[in-house]
Symmetry: D2
Subunit: 247 residues, 4 copies
């Protein structure tokens, strides 16, 4: 691997999609700055990236705090010019309307939309100074469809999507590629496997077809693709789902 003089920041570097993205960009020679709520949980990711010869810095980070986001991205940019920034904070909850507390509604928005705004704006500030960069936002089915029980989550994901469009239209002509991914199915995570088991038992788990769940690595490839598109043919929105998925 040849190390580049460039940084990729991942806000919301969780165990699955976020980690896979971090590894992908590290494997491509980027210095990765990985942030999530609990810094301790990033040790495995850092070790794996370094074992593979890559570079990774980790930070505990609350994406809802302007100063933390600003500090994190400034540090990333000092390590090497910030060239790509991925916002991947999730906040998937499901409550009936009457049981959605104002606290839940606010918190989900703060994590999934407000944090995305802070991240996007501060990354844009740094990228505009360099004259280029990619800003990639993780969306979900709930970004384009407000389903039952998702008043809080869909509202926050819609919010992130609308914001991403405004960013794209303003920043595209300034050479910042802003894209929004619609992850329209279950990713292969412990959470999803447990849910499948809870609903259908061991048989349901055993009966999963090959490639029925999304491998986080496959999703990471989509982020890499978007980042490496030629600027005369940029994509703003990309949906991904497994071949078997009903949609």
């Amino acid at each position: 691997m040849q190390q580049r003089n460039a940084t990729a920041a991942v806000i919301g570097a969780g165990d699955y999609i976020g980690s896979a993205i971090a590894k992908k960009f590290a494997a491509e020679g980027y210095t990765v700055f990985a942030g999530r709520r609990t810094a301790d949980k990033l040790q495995t990711l850092k070790s794996e990236i370094e074992a593979a010869g890559g570079k990774c810095e980790t930070r505990g980070l609350d994406a809802r705090k302007e100063d933390e986001i600003t500090t994190f991205l400034n540090e990333a940019d000092k390590a090497a010019p910030l060239e790509v920034c991925i916002f991947n904070v999730g906040a998937n909850v499901n409550f009936p309307v009457l049981e959605t507390t104002e606290r839940v509604f606010r918190k989900v928005w703060e994590m999934a939309a407000y944090g995305g705004f802070l991240t996007g704006r501060e990354a844009a500030r740094l990228m505009l100074a360099h004259g280029n960069g990619s800003l990639l936002f993780t969306g979900a089915t709930a970004s384009v469809r407000g389903g039952i029980g998702y008043a809080a989550f869909a509202s926050a994901k819609f919010a992130l999507r609308g914001m991403a469009q405004s960013f794209a239209r303003e920043l595209g002509p300034k050479n910042i590629h802003v894209a929004h991914l619609v992850i329209d199915a279950g990713v292969d995570t412990a959470f999803v496997r447990n849910r499948i088991k809870a609903r259908g038992g061991d048989a349901a788990l055993a009966g999963l077809a090959e490639d029925q769940l999304m491998d986080p690595k496959s999703i990471a490839d989509a982020y890499w693709y978007l980042h490496t598109q030629s600027r005369d043919a940029w994509t703003h929105e990309l949906d991904v789902r497994p071949f078997m998925e009903k949609w």
Copy 2:
């Protein structure tokens, strides 16, 4: 006019759309509860409704305060069963990405989306107890398109729209009609007329064609239509724009 034993609540009873809606429902016999930030500004509305033989209660109200919304709607429901609730709080601002402060981003969301959630949930609670009702949310072009400069506003309007969809899918089968209006053009307000004048001078104002701007009364008719639809053919989303509008 025959007075009904039913209340229509308008959150965001501004001088134009909000007032027109209030007058329409009052003219149809509803007791209107009109709320906006400054109670004083509701005096004219109240006087006009009463002069026409209608009933109107007014309240100063911060739609971002859970307890104020709850109190307002409970009082409305005590006056007579809450049958229709319109959320019409606006927060149209335009800033470049880098000049959008976290305060603006948060405040616009709190007004346009969070307030809509509080309103919708509390109105739903009351309506579910009665077994029926209409929940109508005011959207805008920015509800479906994130344009340049609208990172905050589009994000908030998208958020309201996603939430309205979740509400509709859950509450529809419980006999609550949830609808979202996309007001896709300039309404005939002092603000819009001043903007036209600022851009094109007196000639631009004088050159406005008949019906080129939307009369708030015409918009109010759309809210009334949605409220009075038969429940076997409910509309969830309705766009309105003047015949001359480019879109």
Copy 3:
């Protein structure tokens, strides 16, 4: 009823939605011109309208024939100025991809899209001469979602919708109101009731809740509403579905 000096043309005046629309406009004083493939099947409609004091002319009509559409609309316009034209030809079929013959694919498009174009263009020609009019197109779920088995039907309904948008953007400023309705559920027809019975037996039919299926009259009200909107606040697209519908 007061008779107006105006004609409403219904292309695709079938037993349910089309007939309900025809009756509604007749009841509002319009001379109705009703066309469908088999003229004989229009006798009941004509009798009912006339029994109610309305005026109705009927014609056998193949909506895929330019000369037949032109003749039909010209005759309608001669009876009294053509003020509203509804295109309501259905062609709902479901075939797996490999079993969709070129003949089916073509025919469904000819009925649902090409016929709509011929109707819309010729009605527009007459309305532009008068300086006003409404052009209303019937869409379906398949207008906005290409589901399994609907390669032919969804393609045709998408086609009609795209065309309606182009018509609307060009003709709106010329005072022709072009709108597209998305009928997003089963209408209460013999066909739908038979399908419910075939799937779930008599119990399923008996178990239908009140207002679970759409009454064609309720849908006709939506067409009437669109036609009577003030031109400073026109709607282009309107979805309708019963309150209980999953969507």
Copy 4:
């Protein structure tokens, strides 16, 4: 280059996008079957591919003829298993509603939608026999927006898009990747350059920024990306436009 035992068929192998796609797949080792109306016009493409060490068969082909499409694809599949099929027939015309003849409306649909259906169905038949394949359809801005003057073109492009969705939902679980690209801007072609010159003179041409127009090669990369996606994370719809484009 290593030659694969696989064929890529391009229906609508025009001078720009279609040729670029053909070259890309040839460069990746696919035997390319290139079809367009006039076989003679394919000689340059064939020569270029062969000069680069690739394999290319060319055919004159009317995409509106079921037997021609069937023969073409069967021949392609006999040369080596058909693994990817691209439908790229264009038919961009602009006429006011009243000047859109039934012949134009029909022909544009036959080329852009009906031909796509024939291509897709016959390719699917062959791919299902092999158990895998990619079906890629070229869309445009008019696939998602019916603009003024595009009653025929938008209708046809909407039709293709609706069809592609139905194909995707049925064939995805059968391991056929169906995707639709929204080419949302001008490609760098002689036609587009002439139009720019006609509107703005030599200065407009000279003033074109780098990457302001899309290089067909960049678009071809998007087709390649879609084809090579892992099936646990397939994209159905991909938009592409240059970084400077207003949208």
